[in-house]
């Protein structure tokens, strides 16, 4: 999607203004060519160097950990393990449970965030009194530090000190006003998902609102003249225009959320009975509670591969769709 954007932007411009070098300056073709090769890399270099040093190098080191018995409890006993960590993982029911929970957590959070975010973007994409103020207020959750919102939501769900159990009971969603849904393995995941939806709506609303505002208004006017209904306008004009932005934001958010332990860690710590343990929190507890970096790295490796596969499939689907 990013690649596509760039290509289309550049094609139009290059077509019109091909002689880009100033005719007044005596630059030889060779040095001009050298510059056009090196100049972009000059601008990119600080970003690339930092990413290599702070992200790729540690990733490679982490990759080697996943093939080692590497526990901080036994710091003098770090040995190569071959595929032992991965074999252990294959028969680790906690991992499989965490994987299933990750799918549920990610899919639940992303889909609700997306639908509510799209709704909010559509509501904000028109003029009404105090629009700026309301926009600032509804986007506010994005600015609240995640661990603080996690703690606050845990409070809200607490039956002694929070209002939500009473409200949920009153509307008939739970059987008791004195129990927290966070304590019930069957529905505990809804707690962190609610917090995550609260936090994530603004992201979708901001990006989709931006996409909405770039749709030419006269398209709707033309459609209305031809007798199209509002719903037709939405499905035939709005959605196709939003499609690229939806694809990129859904992909990014899916990956971020699958990797995102904060809410679960602050609200349930993976409990009760592993019912909210996702792979990201499992990595965290394995690495920093049990200090088993070898195994934690193996789990993280598998998660990375799964996310790569997901992104690959999604990008290919987009490409096929764009062609067809």
């Amino acid at each position: 999607m990013e690649g596509q954007t760039i290509k289309s932007a550049n094609n139009t411009v290059l077509g019109r203004n091909s002689p880009r070098l100033s005719p007044h300056r005596k630059t030889s073709m060779f040095s001009a060519k050298m510059r056009s090769v090196f100049e972009p890399w000059l601008y990119l270099s600080p970003a690339i160097i930092l990413l290599v040093l702070v992200m790729f190098l540690p990733l490679v080191i982490g990759f080697t950990y996943s093939f080692q018995h590497y526990s901080l409890f036994r710091p003098n006993d770090i040995t190569w393990a071959g595929f032992a960590n991965f074999e252990q993982l294959w028969s680790d029911w906690k991992f499989w449970k965490a994987l299933k929970n990750t799918v549920w957590w990610t899919f639940g959070s992303v889909s609700i965030q997306f639908i509510l975010g799209l709704g909010l973007a559509l509501l904000l994409n028109r003029t009404f009194p105090a629009r700026r103020l309301i926009q600032a207020l509804v986007f506010l959750p994005w600015a609240v530090p995640t661990f603080l919102s996690g703690l606050t939501w845990a409070w809200l769900f607490n039956p002694v000190i929070g209002p939500l159990p009473k409200i949920l009971y009153a509307v008939g969603l739970t059987d008791s006003a004195y129990e927290s849904i966070l304590a019930d393995p069957a529905i505990a995941m809804w707690g962190p998902i609610t917090a995550n939806v609260w936090f994530g709506i603004p992201f979708f609303a901001i990006t989709l609102l931006a996409a909405l505002q770039s749709i030419p208004k006269d398209l709707y006017e033309a459609a209305a003249m031809d007798g199209a209904s509002a719903w037709q306008g939405f499905t035939k004009i709005t959605l196709p225009f939003l499609a690229p932005m939806i694809a990129i934001t859904v992909m990014l958010r899916t990956i971020w959320i699958a990797n995102f332990p904060d809410f679960i860690y602050t609200m349930t710590k993976g409990g009760p009975a592993n019912s909210t343990e996702i792979v990201a929190t499992y990595i965290f507890t394995t690495a920093f509670r049990r200090l088993d970096f070898g195994y934690a790295s193996a789990v993280a490796m598998v998660l990375l591969l799964l996310l790569l596969a997901y992104a690959f499939i999604l990008l290919n689907m987009r490409r096929i769709q764009a062609k067809g």
Partner: protein, 283 residues
């Protein structure tokens, strides 16, 4: 006449529905923040006795004064400021340069560079903690704000680069080309023409990164040990174990810590929408 009044009343119903829906969004967005504030204002004694009340019987600013005067909160706050402002500054600088390269040049390896940036978004950051911890200690940067600034800067660069790229895409190239034909170098054109036009975009990126750095917890926990170097999220947790869990104080500290990131965000969210509008969705 009747059809007209029907469409008219339909319109009123639709506008009422929209207002109601927006009101729901506002309530949903603000309710947790309201509850946070309520806890911070409730005297400790009353907190558990009458916890689910919508408003406490008596309120107090005691938690706020204790937090400010008798804890390390101001130190945490200052450290967070240093880290977040520096991170936001460096990210915006580097991401602007990278976004400009992606937006204005066609070069070999460009798609690979973009792919590499996308790839970093998939890393489980948890997995990087242990190796980064070892590298940072090896360099003797352990327990320093510098290490946090470097790490946060790297983490935030990819998304900020895409953001900046879309801002640059929104600025017509003809403007620069005209300046370059008039004898400006590319850099002069960048400085005099493009830079002023991207200022809102830079403000948006700055604010986005500031809020991200302001709330980061995991790496702050791992890389910082001593109280006088802690940023506020890790400091706040530390605070809990030190005084027992004084929720009122903790929430008061939370409210105080919310102020800068919320102010920043309220100020920049407009530019965020504007900037993304101009570029990102042309594809």
């Amino acid at each position: 006449m009747t059809t007209l009044s029907i469409t008219h009343s339909k319109r009123i119903v639709a506008s009422l529905a929209r207002t109601l829906a927006l009101a729901c969004y506002v309530v949903f967005a603000l309710f947790p923040i309201y509850w946070l504030g309520k806890i911070a204002l409730t005297p400790s004694k009353e907190l558990f006795k009458n916890g689910t009340a919508w408003w406490p019987d008596s309120t107090t600013f005691e938690h706020f004064t204790t937090v400010v005067l008798h804890t390390d909160f101001l130190v945490f706050f200052q450290n967070s400021m240093i880290v977040s402002v520096s991170t936001a500054f460096f990210v915006t600088l580097f991401a602007s340069a990278a976004g400009y390269a992606f937006s204005r040049f066609q070069f070999r390896g460009k798609n690979i560079a973009i792919f590499v940036m996308l790839l970093t978004q998939m890393f489980p950051l948890l997995m990087l903690i242990a190796p980064i911890y070892r590298i940072v200690s090896g360099l003797g940067l352990h327990n320093s704000l510098t290490s946090l600034i470097i790490v946060y800067t790297a983490f935030n660069i990819p998304f900020a680069t895409f953001l900046m790229q879309s801002f640059f895409d929104g600025i017509p190239r003809d403007l620069e080309d005209a300046a370059m034909i008039d004898g400006c170098t590319r850099f002069q054109a960048l400085r005099r023409i493009v830079f002023p036009l991207t200022l809102p975009g830079m403000a948006a990126t700055l604010g986005f990164v500031f809020t991200a750095a302001w709330s980061e917890l995991l790496f702050a926990l791992m890389l910082i040990d001593s109280n006088e170097k802690m940023t506020f999220p890790s400091g706040l947790l530390n605070f809990v174990s030190k005084f027992g869990v004084d929720w009122g104080q903790m929430m008061a500290a939370g409210i105080l810590a919310l102020i800068p990131s919320c102010l920043f965000f309220i100020f920049i969210q407009r530019y965020l929408v504007q900037g993304l509008t101009s570029g990102a969705v042309k594809g």
